[in-house]
């Protein structure tokens, strides 16, 4: 009854896509308008926190290796931390913009975990390739949450931050257990799934 790993990736992709669209909406209309309704203000920080909570069952049930468990556990913690910090900023419990470094830490730890826990250097195989791509995207994309601390009102930074989540969701949707990347796959990768 346990879903295949690609299903988990697609479900998280859905969460990240919604998160990205909400952030894009906030970037377009501005934070003041976005926060005019309380439920909307809490929507994306709450979603980020919920995604962090949902990573705990992933850590618990997908125990392929110790490094997988550690990576999923680290993601769960940093995503919950980032979501909680954003919730507290919306609520007014935290006021310093430097707390947004929590999201930067989330990006850096997540990117590092992606790179570390993908032990296959098989860039010709879909999931290995995507894990490397996701890792480097997160590490490079960490510049956006960092820039949000420095220039919190910048629309370009907010848009870049939002689109990073959309791009991550696209990569997660592309993830399949065993499949070719660009039409070629080595027999080392196993038999392709659809």
């Amino acid at each position: 009854m346990q879903p295949a790993s690609e299903h988990v990736h697609w479900l998280f992709a859905t969460g990240f896509l919604l998160l990205g669209l909400c952030l894009l909406g906030e970037a377009v209309v501005g934070t003041e308008v976005w926060r005019r309704r309380a439920w909307r203000a809490y929507l994306w920080p709450g979603l980020a926190f919920a995604l962090g909570v949902l990573l705990w069952p992933v850590m618990t049930f997908y125990t392929n290796s110790a490094i997988h468990m550690l990576a999923h556990g680290a993601w769960a913690q940093v995503l919950m931390l980032a979501g909680a910090v954003e919730l507290a900023l919306v609520r007014g419990k935290l006021t310093s913009r430097w707390w947004r470094l929590g999201m930067t830490a989330g990006f850096v730890v997540s990117g590092g975990a992606f790179l570390v826990h993908e032990q296959n250097a098989w860039l010709f195989q879909r999931s290995a390739f995507l894990h490397h791509l996701l890792g480097w995207t997160l590490l490079v994309g960490a510049i956006f949450p960092l820039a949000r601390c420095l220039r919190p009102r910048s629309q370009a930074v907010a848009t870049g931050f939002a689109l990073t989540f959309v791009i991550i969701s696209v990569m997660l949707y592309c993830d399949r257990d065993v499949a070719p990347v660009f039409g070629h796959m080595s027999p080392l990768a196993g038999s392709p799934h659809r």
Partner: protein, 93 residues
């Protein structure tokens, strides 16, 4: 009548209209992306050939999830947002 004053008055309205259009387009564009994906890779929609598929293959249909996110955003998030944009515009005036 000073043309500069007219352009100053029109600028916020144009910006609001542009923002309204972008907001109204995000959800449908996302849903359309999901539909195009489903057309390009119809084998991903296991509901079209459900026999022999497991529970998760029938529940987690990635292109349909993309469509669902687009529709949710358009019908749940955007309407209130457009109302608030209008209120903000009226307040500025």
């Amino acid at each position: 009548m000073n043309a500069e004053l007219v352009s100053e008055l029109e600028a916020p309205l144009q910006r609001t209209t542009a923002r309204t259009r972008i907001m109204s387009a995000i959800g449908p564009a996302t849903a359309l992306a999901g539909v195009i994906w489903a057309l390009v890779q119809p084998y991903r929609i296991t509901l079209l050939h459900p026999r022999g598929q497991g529970f998760w293959w029938l529940v987690v249909e990635a292109p349909l999830l993309v469509v669902a996110v687009g529709l949710f955003f358009h019908f749940v998030v955007v309407p209130g947002l457009l109302e608030d944009l209008e209120v903000e515009h009226a307040t500025r005036e």
